[in-house]
Amino acid sequence: MIARLAFFLLFLSVGPAVALAPSEQMDDPALEARARAIGKQLRCVVCQNESIDESEASLARDLRHLVRERLKAGDSDAEAMDFIVKRYGDFVLMQPRFAAENYVLWLFPFTLLLGGGLIIAHMRRKAPKN
């Protein structure tokens, strides 16, 4: 019984895997929170389905470090993100931007809805009334 309990407790003692090492964290909790939030929005280019906040890749660690350096130097969140985007492109944003090359993607559903609506309205007007 005790062995079983100990075995069970062993599982409880396993924390969630966190890529971020304690030594990477900044002393200022507010800055650290901002850095974590930014890290979650940036894609790791080595392991493309993870954010740099989650990734164990060494490049992700470097980028986390870089984001913290930028924040320490007084960058705003947007400036720190732009710093990375300038080097790696819009692709590193986990959330796509409303940018020129994406207009088709963003606007197509609405265009379709509007166009379809107009066609239906037109047809209804032309249809013989019963």
């Binding site: 280019v45 080595v46 493309q48 060494s58 490049l59 470097d62 980028l63 870089l66 300038k86 080097r87 790696y88 492109g89 692709f91 090359e101 088709v104 197509f108 379709l112 066609i119």
Partner: protein, 178 residues
């Protein structure tokens, strides 16, 4: 108008076709979805100041102005770099072949070049990897061609092959030297 109403039933199919065409062209055909576009193409090479391997000299991007330069990021710990190593000798020497050792020690790089041979005119050390990030590196090896004015004209991610060097890099070097 008569034609239009005859066309009507096919309209959804036509629209669908057009959309598929647009998407294929922009997002799929001939593009490896995991291959990343380079932000540097046709932009000035990033600034850097790096120490030369085994020498007390520092070089910056300005030192390469006026020469077509092939910048090859590599490391002794990277096996794709070992694979591409022999093909680096095939690069047209009309360009200066610059090796930047990414996240590696002078000792390891020295040993690597001694064992394998040194295809570089000059080797600079990026021990922290920060210069690599400025170049948008996602790993090693990566190869860039920079023109005489310091503008990046070409980027290749991964191991170079003999074909890649002969068919893409050398013709570009020749064109940039004209």
């Amino acid at each position: 108008m008569k034609y239009f109403s005859k066309l009507m039933p096919f309209l959804p199919i036509i629209i669908f076709g057009v959309v598929v065409g647009i998407f294929l062209r922009h997002y799929s055909i001939g593009r490896d979805p995991s291959a990343l576009p380079s932000m540097l193409l046709d932009k000035p090479a990033p600034r850097f100041a790096l120490k030369q391997l085994d020498a007390d000299k520092t070089f910056s991007e300005k030192d390469f102005l006026g020469r077509v330069t092939v910048v090859n990021f590599f490391a002794s710990w990277c096996s794709p770099c070992h694979i591409e190593h022999p093909y680096l000798y095939g690069i047209d020497r009309g360009a200066l072949v610059l090796g930047i050792a990414y996240k590696d020690s002078a000792q390891n790089i020295g040993g690597y070049l001694k064992d394998m041979g040194n295809p570089y005119r000059l080797v600079l050390m990026d021990e922290s990897g920060l210069v690599g990030i400025d170049w948008g590196l996602s790993g090693v090896p990566e190869t860039f061609v920079v023109d005489k004015g310091g503008t990046v004209r070409y980027r290749y991610v991964g191991s170079l092959t003999a074909e890649r060097v002969q068919q893409e890099i050398n013709p570009l070097i020749a064109a940039l030297n004209k």
